[in-house]
């Protein structure tokens, strides 16, 4: 077990920082990394035990003397550990810098924030893009299927490694919210406050269906090569790009698309009577697809979508969701967004009903937004006010000044 210090990409002579190679990043991440050997194996739900594995993470702020101010942030499907620093692969700001930082609702002047790349991911935690030491090649489809619970189990071992007995808060949206729920269920004594946002206790049939379309798009690309593409130079970029385009639509809303693009044409006066990207919305989606494949591994996309599909917290508890939270002392704050049709408010209400039935302390609010599922990542003042209040009250209850 070794922790590597953070070597962020150095700025070259031009203003833009030098970006790192995503393939290299899967094994040698530009972040902290905890490496585990056979003495601390990762036992996975599928029955496989990973004897050598690693988890890449970032931290912000300072752990207090009591080790009581740690906040774990769980990322969504295509997120990573770079939650509040410039992303070394894309050069873009951290994915939740609006929420996390000095003076922000999750104030890094007060809290010690940890964010790790999920197991099965491609930015430095062991996953399909990582090197399989048994073969000297990338795992590809030889990597065992990952579940949300596996991700959380790995995170709990990271928290052990950091010497933290109990987390002040665990927070995340979408797939990150699933991890939050799993944390609260698997390790109730280690979670003081839980904030699952825009998420569900189980993935819906419609969402599994969307994921399956994305996976089929990847696998239909001849460059996917049965998942062995990392052995050569070609990448299933077309397939992964289409998968991302489809998924991206589900993260928005009809109203948001209309507001942003309407039927406006892209850099042209009239329709071209071709299949060019005549409409702005087409051009936007193509861009989303192309920029995604530059930063994300196709096999990882298959694995992580599968992990979400398999998530059904009630199924692990005789089909009764309330049993997943029985006797919980954790304080919950659940939030959904009016225009989110991927994880609609009904999904959040199901969580709230289960928490009520188990007697847990829970706050819930449906926030007004036309930005769809992505709203949880955006600058939403109502969300921030709610989180500020909830986290502040939880901090007082925890004895954090």
């Amino acid at each position: 077990m070794t922790a590597k210090t953070n070597k962020s990409g150095k700025a070259s002579k031009s203003a833009a920082p030098a970006l790192v190679d995503p393939v290299r990043e899967a094994n040698e991440p530009t972040s902290l990394v905890a490496r585990f050997g056979p003495e601390r194996p990762l036992v996975m739900d599928c029955g496989v035990t990973l004897e050598r594995w690693q988890i890449a993470f970032q931290t912000y702020g300072t752990l207090n003397a009591d080790r009581s101010n740690a906040v774990l942030v769980c990322h969504a499907l295509t997120g990573d550990q770079h939650v509040a620093n410039t992303n070394p692969v894309t050069g873009k700001p951290g994915w939740w810098e609006v929420l996390i930082g000095p003076g922000c609702p999750i104030d890094t002047d007060r809290y010690f924030v940890i964010c790790s790349n999920v197991i099965g991911g491609c930015l430095g935690s062991t996953g399909p893009a990582s090197l399989d030491q048994a073969t000297g090649k990338a795992y590809g489809l030889n990597f065992p299927l990952v579940t949300i619970r596996d991700m959380v189990r790995a995170q709990s071992m990271l928290i052990d490694y950091l010497g933290i007995a109990s987390l002040f808060a665990v927070i995340g949206g979408s797939m990150g919210g699933m991890q939050v729920l799993q944390w609260a269920s698997s390790f109730p004594d280690r979670v003081f406050a839980a904030v699952p946002l825009a998420t569900a206790a189980r993935h819906s049939a419609q969402n599994i269906a969307f994921h399956e379309v994305g996976r089929q798009a990847v696998m239909a690309d001849p460059d996917w090569q049965g998942g062995r593409y990392l052995d050569g130079a070609r990448r299933p970029s077309k397939g992964l790009s289409v998968a991302r385009m489809g998924a991206h639509i589900t993260y928005l809303s009809e109203a948001a698309l209309h507001r942003k693009f309407g039927r406006n044409l892209q850099d042209r006066e009239a329709r071209t009577f071709t299949f060019d990207a005549d409409f702005q919305v087409e051009s936007y989606l193509r861009y989303q697809g192309i920029s995604f494949v530059e930063r994300f591994d196709a096999n990882c996309y298959l694995y992580l979508t599968r992990a979400m599909d398999y998530f059904d917290l009630a199924a692990d508890h005789d089909g009764v969701l309330a049993k997943a939270f029985a006797g919980s002392k954790t304080r919950f704050c659940v939030a959904s967004f009016t225009s989110d049709w991927l994880f609609p408010t009904a999904d959040s209400r199901a969580i709230v009903h289960a928490l009520n039935a188990s007697g847990a302390s829970v706050s819930f609010v449906e926030l007004e937004s036309d930005k769809g599922h992505d709203a949880f990542l955006l600058d939403e003042p109502q969300l921030f006010a709610t989180l500020r209040g909830f986290i502040g009250a939880a901090a007082r209850a925890r004895g954090l000044a």
Binding site: N356, A357, S361, E368, A385, G389, A393, A397
Partner: protein, 213 residues
């Protein structure tokens, strides 16, 4: 505590310290905050308005956005020591079902409501022939969220129908003072501007009846 609304203060006094309380229609959380600070209760709330919930959560209260008419059914039996409905029953679509659910999920229910039998309301209807607008109920008939007004006697009858036992009942006059236990129901119904009832489900054998029924 002198600036605390008299009816909220009265409700707080009915609640055992350290108990578990659900306030249905908790608004901005004033009562929950009072209960938490004065009676050290485990305070939970349900509120319909998004702004109300956001305000409550920002005060550190455990409040969920929900509807008394549809969401109480999801709570298990005996989940709370007290379920409170403060100045809200007249705004529910199905007051009887709401009260039934309150008596099911709480060991006790506390209901406060404006008395539509108050003399000033009767007078407006009798002499002006207009729907009453008072300082207590300032909205006109087409603006008001209050769709199921009742008088104290109406409420007592509903409690009887449901087999609920009144452990305590208080009527407050327009000045906010307690009208007094000795007064007969007709007097309460005429001079009580609002009423607060502490109820529990089904009669026990030889249960003492605190009201002047």
């Amino acid at each position: 505590m002198s600036d605390v609304r008299i009816d909220l203060s009265l409700i707080a006094d009915m609640v055992e310290p350290g108990s578990k309380v659900l306030d249905v229609g908790c608004g901005d959380g004033a009562l929950l905050a009072l209960l938490a600070s004065r009676r050290h209760v485990d305070a939970r709330g349900i509120e319909l308005s998004r702004e109300g919930v956001a305000g409550c959560v920002a005060r550190g209260l455990s409040v969920i956005q929900g509807d008394a008419d549809t969401d109480l059914g999801d709570y298990p039996d005996d989940a709370f020591d007290y379920v409170i409905l403060s100045q809200t029953i007249q705004a529910t679509r199905a007051p009887r079902r709401v009260l039934e659910n309150m008596l099911r999920i709480g060991r006790r229910a506390i209901v406060s409501f404006p008395n539509f039998g108050h003399w000033s309301i009767r007078a407006q209807l009798a002499f002006k022939g207009r729907m009453p607008v008072t300082s207590n109920l300032p909205e006109t008939w087409h603006d008001t969220p209050n769709i199921h007004f009742c008088t104290i006697r109406d409420f007592v009858e509903l409690c009887d129908t449901l087999g609920a036992v009144t452990e305590r009942a208080v009527a407050l006059n327009a000045a906010g003072s307690d009208i007094g236990v000795k007064a007969p129901w007709w007097f309460w119904n005429l001079f009580g501007q609002q009423a607060v009832f502490l109820l529990r489900r089904t009669a026990l054998a030889s249960a003492p009846d605190a009201g002047p029924l």
